[in-house]
């Protein structure tokens, strides 16, 4: 450890690299500092003001995302004073908009998971669609923050005139994560704060569908509250803890982004990017994030079909496999194995591709195996 690069956080010696903020040093050393606006690999905005810490010898609390680590600093991230300040800030944020997730009315001390589940109504028009997945809600519960005043909602109504993203400005806490995601992560440069920093807007404040938004949904993924939600999520409101997340690989282009498929009762409700792992580190494009309808589309083939004259007729697996095995066997005997060709696919797995070529070579006895993707 370079002795010139040590700061002490909560009694722990931590090394830091040049120009790293206290927040980043802490995170890298496994110490969590809560924040609503920090987004890794972007320049911090310092807007949420939750990541307050105490530095020995300084009177004021400082924002750890705005303060660069310096040798010899002694930092505390969790003292009663910090907790009180965070709670005050959280109360301000909850009161700033339409945060009706019942944190407001309930005596939070008495909340249990069971109650939280029971409190989530099936119709969410009145309840925030991010219920149970909201960072603000989580922190409000953790810090026992209550609204200080009734929210004055002046934001424009919900924008949902595009196929994928619902923007509800009344729940926006102006953290700026979406702005960072759009400009610094995806570099699509579509949204930004307006001049008074009171709203996140596209150029000329047009709806997303009339802007140059490419619907990558990065902004939705990073929004800590319910101000940006995917439309499907908005429509099928799911109670927290009733969906499972399965990690897999996107099936569209060759980038092979890592995705979570969120499933409820065997229905895909949404897809999100897997943070922190390559190749995509949480990012996705419109196809990977929103283009999953084909999987459970009614036009999916559900039974084998065999041609009878002009028509394809439903058949059982046994019938279909028998038919193919007989016919292939016959053609192979009559015209030789090289009269048969197999096309495998860029859509199926490695295991399946391996078996397809093994089938062509070992079972049919031909090297006539190819795939169309070279096309």
């Amino acid at each position: 450890m370079d002795t010139e690069n040590i700061i002490i956080i909560n009694g722990l010696k931590c090394s830091f690299s040049k120009n790293e903020t206290i927040l980043e040093t802490a995170l890298r050393n496994g110490i969590k500092i809560p924040s609503l606006c920090y987004l890794s690999n972007t320049v911090s905005t310092g807007k949420c003001k939750i990541c307050l810490v105490e530095i020995e010898g300084e009177d004021e609390l400082v924002l750890s995302c705005q303060t660069v680590s310096q040798h010899g600093m002694v930092v505390k991230t969790d003292t009663p004073r910090i907790a009180a300040a965070r709670r005050a800030r959280l109360e301000e944020l909850i009161s700033s908009g339409h945060h009706n997730c019942l944190v407001q009315e309930m005596d939070i001390n008495s909340w249990t998971d069971f109650q939280r589940d029971a409190m989530a109504p099936d119709i969410h028009r009145t309840l925030c669609p991010a219920y149970g997945e909201c960072r603000l809600q989580d922190l409000a519960i953790q810090y026992r923050a209550r609204p200080v005043k009734a929210a004055k909602i002046t934001a424009p109504p919900v924008e949902d005139v595009n196929p994928f993203i619902v923007r509800d400005f009344s729940r926006c806490i102006l953290c700026g994560r979406c702005v960072k995601a759009c400009n610094e992560v995806q570099v699509n440069r579509v949204i930004n704060f307006n001049e008074s920093e009171s709203k996140v807007i596209t150029k000329d404040d047009l709806p997303l569908k009339d802007s140059n938004c490419v619907f990558c949904g990065e902004c939705v993924q990073v929004c800590p509250v319910g101000a940006l939600v995917s439309k499907r999520d908005f429509e099928i409101h799911t109670k927290p803890n009733t969906t499972k997340k399965i990690r897999t690989t996107c099936s569209y282009c060759g980038v092979g982004c890592q995705i979570y498929i969120h499933v409820k009762d065997n229905q895909i409700v949404k897809v999100t990017g897997v943070d922190n792992f390559g190749p995509n580190r949480g990012s996705l494009c419109v196809k990977g994030r929103f283009g999953f309808d084909f999987v459970q589309h009614p036009a999916r083939l559900t039974t084998p079909l065999i041609r009878k004259g002009k028509k394809l007729k439903e058949a059982t697996w046994d019938e279909a496999i028998d038919y193919i095995a007989n016919k292939l066997g016959y053609l192979k005997d009559k015209y030789g194995p090289d009269s048969i060709g197999v096309l495998t696919s860029a859509r199926i797995t490695n295991e399946e591709n391996y078996l397809a070529q093994k089938f062509a070579r070992a079972v049919i006895g031909t090297n006539n195996i190819d795939h169309c993707a070279r096309l």
């Binding site: 196929p163 610094e184 690989t249 099936s251 282009c253 060759g254 980038v255 092979g256 982004c257 890592q258 229905q267 792992f277 190749p279 494009c285 419109v286 196809k287 990977g288 929103f290 283009g291 999953f292 084909f294 999987v295 459970q296 589309h297 036009a299 083939l301 559900t302 697996w317 496999i321 038919y323 193919i324 016919k327 053609l331 009559k334 015209y335 194995p337 009269s339 060709g341 197999v342 495998t344 696919s345 860029a346 859509r347 199926i348 490695n350 295991e351 399946e352 591709n353 078996l355 397809a356 070529q357 079972v363 006895g365 031909t366 090297n367 195996i369 190819d370 795939h371 169309c372 070279r374």
Partner: protein, 540 residues
């Protein structure tokens, strides 16, 4: 990918995607990255905006990435080899190339040097339309990079000179010592999600898994033993394009097509239809009743990616897990199970309990996958080659030496496309994709949302051409080539270059591949989708 294999000994992306952010100069050629590899394009854009890298875009269309480019070389369709030769001419003339590297790690430099002599920037300007001054600047920029990365896609490969195009890019990269270093490389971006895997697994007529040659007796012996057989065919098979030809002539009797839709993806569709109809047996295994499946004698319903376990290998050679999230509809089955059932029935039992068992066999018979197991890639994929269980994988290829030993320069001359505009068919046509659709649309067109954003086919045409033909935005046009005609609406756009139109190939009702040329690259057998000659008329 034959061009890269010839130059380096391996045909895959030489560097990982994350390396793009480590490059100080990036050359993107023949890739509309933001639409075709959107997440990968974010690496390019961040390299420019956050890391200060310089971007050179070579593309006839004004693609979105040009907004980020220091130099945008707007060359005429199909003149890539001339362009690259021109850059090398400058680099060699001005002594900007990496002499140590060329001397110690490559062969064939003399021939290359001799050949590019004729490609002076002025001569190249005549061929490509790129101003000589701009070419010189771009060449200097690339040559001056500590790490220069080249990214390319179908815009390079889908030409009769596709293999030559790739060899030229390999030449350029080696000339400047950019292969085998972090942030450098020649990187083909694979269009479909598991093309890399399909090739790795031996879904090719000449190789088993891991690119082991079928006509190498030692390899064949090994496979015969591994698969407990008496014999295996020793001659390479034929590629898909030739299969179609033979089917057309009645010499191919049966085809078993898994998860592909050549009825929309092939060049010259009416020809394909006749070929497929000519077969005694056509089996199609897919998740939808595609245009191809509609012609089949037997259709087998398979599981989608979200319904099965297994692995995909992405464009950067990273083997990643696929996991079952939902169950398949009706009687649809995993493709591997269907193949096993059929093999069983035909007297060659294939008994696997699950994909993991199959993967074990893959690692046993495939040297480049030997060290990979499901356990090792549980959280993060591994880059092949990964020869042993404790090998970390290989993000950057050709570090100490090339797969073939020395890197080989190929002196390749510029050849014009097979079909050029003439009096009768005066315009260039190029085809490609749009962001919101994918390939033949079997997947994306099932999404109302995506359809809303990209509802129908269009002809992207320059303002100047629109004036010449008295076309207004949204006019319905007839687009006619020597092979067929389609109808689509005009989209007047500054993206299009004068004398050239662009049509996306996703749409059945206006299938661009009814127009394209079947002329093939003689080595890679890839058709020339990217250039043909057409004429346009206003539809009545």
């Amino acid at each position: 990918m034959a061009g890269l294999a010839a130059a380096f000994g391996s045909g895959a992306m030489t560097n990982p995607i994350s390396d793009i952010e480590k490059a100080d100069v990036i050359l993107v050629i023949g890739s509309n990255t933001t639409e075709n590899h959107p997440v990968l394009s974010t690496y390019v854009k961040r390299a420019v905006t956050k890391k200060g890298a310089k971007l050179i875009v070579a593309d006839p269309r004004k693609i979105d990435l040009t907004q980020f480019a220091t130099h945008w070389l707007r060359h005429t369709l199909g003149t890539d080899v001339a362009l690259i030769n021109g850059m090398m001419n400058v680099i060699i003339e001005e002594n900007l190339y990496d002499k140590d590297y060329v001397e110690s790690r490559t062969e064939g430099f003399k021939e290359l040097k001799e050949m590019v002599k004729t490609y002076s920037p002025e001569h190249v300007e005549d061929i490509t339309g790129v101003p000589a001054k701009q070419l010189v600047e771009a060449a200097r920029l690339y040559a001056g990079a500590k790490a220069g990365s080249i990214l390319y896609a179908m815009g390079i490969t889908q030409h009769i000179t596709g293999t030559d195009n790739v060899k030229s890019l390999a030449n350029l990269a080696m000339l400047c010592g950019n292969i085998g270093i972090e942030g450098g490389g020649v990187n083909p971006l694979r269009g479909q999600n598991n093309v890399q895997g399909a090739c790795d697994m031996g879904g090719l007529p000449n190789v088993y898994s891991g690119y082991q040659k079928v006509d190498d007796p030692a390899v064949r012996e090994r496979m015969i033993k591994a698969w407990s057989l008496k014999d295996l065919p020793d001659r390479p098979g034929i590629p898909v394009t030739e299969m179609m030809e033979l089917a057309y002539d009645g010499k191919m009797k049966a085809m078993y097509i898994i998860g592909e839709n050549p009825m929309l993806s092939d060049p010259d569709l009416s020809h394909v239809k006749k070929s497929l109809k000519n077969l005694d047996l056509l089996v199609v295994q897919d998740i939808f009743l595609t245009e191809t499946a509609q012609l089949a004698d037997v259709v087998l319903p398979s599981a989608s990616f979200a319904e099965k376990d297994g692995t995909f290998t992405n464009t950067e050679r990273r083997v990643q897990r696929v996991r079952k999230a939902v169950s398949s509809p009706g009687d649809a089955k995993d493709d591997w199970k269907i193949i096993c059932n059929l093999a069983d029935k035909m007297g060659y039992p294939m008994k696997y309990g699950n994909p993991r068992d199959i993967f074990r066999e893959i690692s046993e018979v495939t040297p480049s996958y030997s060290g990979i197991t499901y356990e090792r890639i549980e959280h993060e994929g591994i880059y092949w080659p990964c020869p042993t269980k404790d090998h970390p994988g290989t993000p950057v290829l050709h570090k100490e030496q090339f797969s073939r030993g020395l890197g080989l320069f190929h002196a390749v001359e510029y050849l014009p496309p097979a079909e050029l505009p003439d009096k009768k068919y005066p315009l260039f046509l190029t085809t490609g994709r749009v962001l919101y659709q994918y390939h033949t649309g079997t997947m994306t067109m099932k999404s109302d949302g995506l359809n809303q954003l990209a509802p129908e086919c269009f002809v992207e045409i320059s303002k100047k051409d629109a004036e010449v033909y008295h076309i207004e935005d949204n006019d319905m046009l007839k687009i006619i080539s020597r092979r067929g005609k389609i109808k689509a609406r005009a989209k007047i756009s500054e993206r299009a270059k004068q004398g050239m139109v662009f049509i996306p190939f996703h749409y059945v009702r206006a299938a661009a591949n009814k127009l394209t040329n079947t002329a093939l690259d003689p080595v890679a057998k890839i058709p020339e989708y990217k250039v043909c000659a057409i004429k346009i008329e206003k539809a009545a």
